[in-house]
Assembly symmetry: C2
Homo-oligomer: 458 residues x 2
């Protein structure tokens, strides 16, 4: 929390110095701040003040820092900033940005502007930008960078070392090197550490690891993050369909993807669609839209619960006390089911659970659910006896056991079923599981009640 307070202080100091046009003070303050922190301060200023102040502050920074910080800003700010800038300044910012961030900024511009900018670039730069900007969002291509160190096959260690030194200022990482054959195909990889301890005259081809882990350019970014985490990689190379090396994805970008995907999965677990940008910057309509779809669908799904209740209307009229326990029972089934679904969905996302494990996990879930059901039946019968007498308490306790077991099994199996039919298992959200568990809970409860208590006059 001290960091946040520090940031607030730094923001206030920056603003004061900027507004007083106190250049000396700004020259003391600005170099002290890290890019991620300045970006956060600017985002905050954009929320509290106006965007012009943000752009004014950015103008006070040297070009390379400015370019670096722009990469950290939220998309809407980047977009507006680019609109304010002349083609000249935008092109000079482009030059200082890393290839992947340049492509992301480029994709925020409208088509006319993009065309105009491309025309003013050197051929190689233009081709590189066009290519990086062309990959579909969510794929390996969309997060890779072309700033990597490629070593032509056939070099000696000392030649390769020279190449590393030459490329060092521009490359995103110089610590993992990629050996390519004359056709541009990825032939192997070696680390700078290996290179450093090797004999200068040794052949790179003899040192390199030939069995390289790489990803195709259209691989899902989620899968890329999983690979980087699994094999503790510094970067993963990306290849095109002819297995030519075309980019790398570094560990920090993989970590950002993993965080983004975890957030998306958590939201999905509550039937919330994918929200672009942060919670604070998302538009109200977007927040509404991403939440309302499933909520309304589930209103209709809940008709089944209502129909179940209608079917047992006579029982309910005869034993009105049954209604007291209705929310409690259906909630319990929904809760146990949501727990089971969450365990499965997250297990599948991290690779801890695979679809072929379902039968084994089903057996385990049955055992756990019986335990849960019995414990909760005990708890509810204490409540039941005090509120409604032994007979109804017995009905409620029996229902609880069954409802919890059925709810748990629905929650556990639904992700596997969805996966089997080609859907995202995360669609088995808590609200969906709850609605299905509710309908079954209503049927179980009133069926048991009708059987045990008998129909009025029956």
């Amino acid at each position: 929390m001290s960091l946040n307070e520090t940031l607030i202080e730094q923001k206030d100091a920056l603003l004061a110095a900027h507004q007083a046009d106190d250049r000396e003070r700004l020259e003391l303050l600005l170099p002290e701040l890290r890019a991620a922190d300045i970006a956060e301060i600017l985002e905050q200023i954009a929320e509290e003040q106006d965007h012009q102040t943000v752009f004014g502050l950015l103008d006070r920074l040297p070009l390379d820092r400015r370019a670096h910080i722009i990469g950290y800003l939220p998309e809407d700010l980047q977009e507006e900033l680019a609109r304010e800038m002349s083609d000249e300044s935008l092109l000079s910012v482009f030059e200082e940005m890393s290839a992947d961030e340049r492509a992301d900024l480029f994709n925020l511009l409208d088509e006319d502007r993009r065309e105009g900018l491309l025309r003013r670039m050197a051929r190689q730069e233009r081709e590189d930008l066009k290519r990086l900007a062309s990959y579909e969002e969510g794929t390996a291509g969309s997060i890779m960078t072309s700033d990597y160190v490629a070593i032509p096959s056939g070099m000696t260690v000392s030649q390769a070392m020279m190449r590393v030194r030459q490329t060092a200022p521009d490359a995103e990482t110089v610590y993992q090197l990629y050996v390519v054959d004359p056709e541009g195909k990825l032939a192997g990889t070696l680390s700078l550490r290996q290179l450093m301890v090797a004999r200068p005259g040794a052949q790179v081809d003899d040192l390199m690891i030939k069995d390289v882990i790489s990803v195709p350019v259209d691989e899902e970014q989620e899968e890329v993050a999983r690979l980087v985490a699994r094999y503790d990689m510094l970067a993963v190379p990306v290849t095109d369909h002819e297995e030519r090396l075309i980019g790398i994805i570094t560990h920090d970008d993989a970590m950002d993807v993993a965080e983004e995907e975890a957030t998306e999965d958590m939201h999905k677990g509550m039937s919330i669609g994918k929200i672009e940008g942060g919670l604070r910057s998302a538009s109200l309509f977007d927040l509404y839209r991403k939440r309302v779809v499933w909520l309304v669908l589930l209103v209709f799904a809940n008709i089944f619960s209502g129909a179940g209740i209608a079917y047992f209307e006579e029982t309910i009229e005869a034993y009105i006390a049954l209604v007291f326990f209705l929310p409690l029972l259906v909630d319990s089934g929904g809760n146990a089911g949501s727990q089971a679904a969450t365990l499965m969905v997250r297990g599948m996302a991290t690779g801890d659970v695979r679809s072929r494990d379902w039968a084994k996990l089903l057996g385990r879930e049955v055992a756990v659910a019986i335990g849960l059901g019995l414990t909760m039946a005990l708890a509810v019968s204490v409540v039941g006896i005090f509120r409604a007498g032994t007979e109804i308490a017995m009905v409620v306790a029996m229902s609880m056991v069954l409802i919890v077991i059925v709810g748990s099994l629905i929650g556990m199996l639904l992700p596997f079923i969805l996966n089997r039919i080609g859907w995202d298992p995360a669609t088995a959200s808590a609200p969906l599981v709850t609605s299905i568990a509710d309908a079954s809970g209503v049927l179980i409860y009133f069926a048991i009640a009708t059987a045990v208590l008998g129909l009025p006059g029956g």
Copy 2:
């Protein structure tokens, strides 16, 4: 998915060769496999076959690979393996393991064994192991390693380069270097890349960045992961209370922590306690225990909903059709509230939302919730008119608007309130929010019904 199939094939091939004692084939198969993959294959074999096969296969590997793979195995397997091994073999495995993994394995042993092993170690090794093993789980100390490259202050670039080459075989990373003063305090940091492009005679102290991001040894591991992600770090240095450098945490370990914490938060969002190890390896009793606590607590919390219903018993008896809509209405409030809670809890975990943002976010949530409530009221009134006539449909629609707004606000505010009183905001789980939203939903619904429809004979 192809990876999994490949792994299954490799597992079958390994098992066949092992059982036939076909050494030639094993010598072809084993070097091809990566440590993370062998570990996963062994875990699978442990589940399907017996542990002896696993240990037998491990014995066929050279010591350094064996040590590396053991670090990837789940704790229960590591524990059993260590029990099977003699002190001699365990000590030689220890020597080949990285410092952090050695400490983790050491912590799985019982006290007598630990004492015995420590007595047989050299003093420096012993002190290092004892220190690393002593940090509380979940802190920076528990995940750091002591295998880093420290450069004494005052060295030249070429001296530092020599030091890097000497340390290279043992250090976890040689790409980020830490400069320490004579008292062992962290004076600065520089990257190998900086060192490589610098003049050999230059002073390291002139090159290094003095404003180092570091973490105290008792910092929460979650915070460490957040820092590494925020500043795109390769490793973060860890200091003791005298600001002496005592370890580093590398990006791959930070990424593992981030994944682990995201899993924990998702589970917490469904009121599931922290499960040690994977879902498949957790004991049934542990799974039961981690789920039952809140489920039972919520049974008692649901008494409030029951009490609300009891209070309005006369209204319900008079208009039994009201019961049809009860699960639908309380579910809707719970769903909207769970969505709001999840958005806030995850936002707080990633740093997108801060506690001081609550007022601004409250305003936004009110606006979104009104939109959600009106849309869902429209949906439910379509259902209502067909099932129960216009009068009840009107009651249901009015209730829906209010219930969704109240549910959303409960879900949104609860994480902030919990945070304020020093609890983990993630305690505002979907089941808890649902239970609270349920009780308010019951009151809102039947109060509106009583007001609009009137009491029987009233």
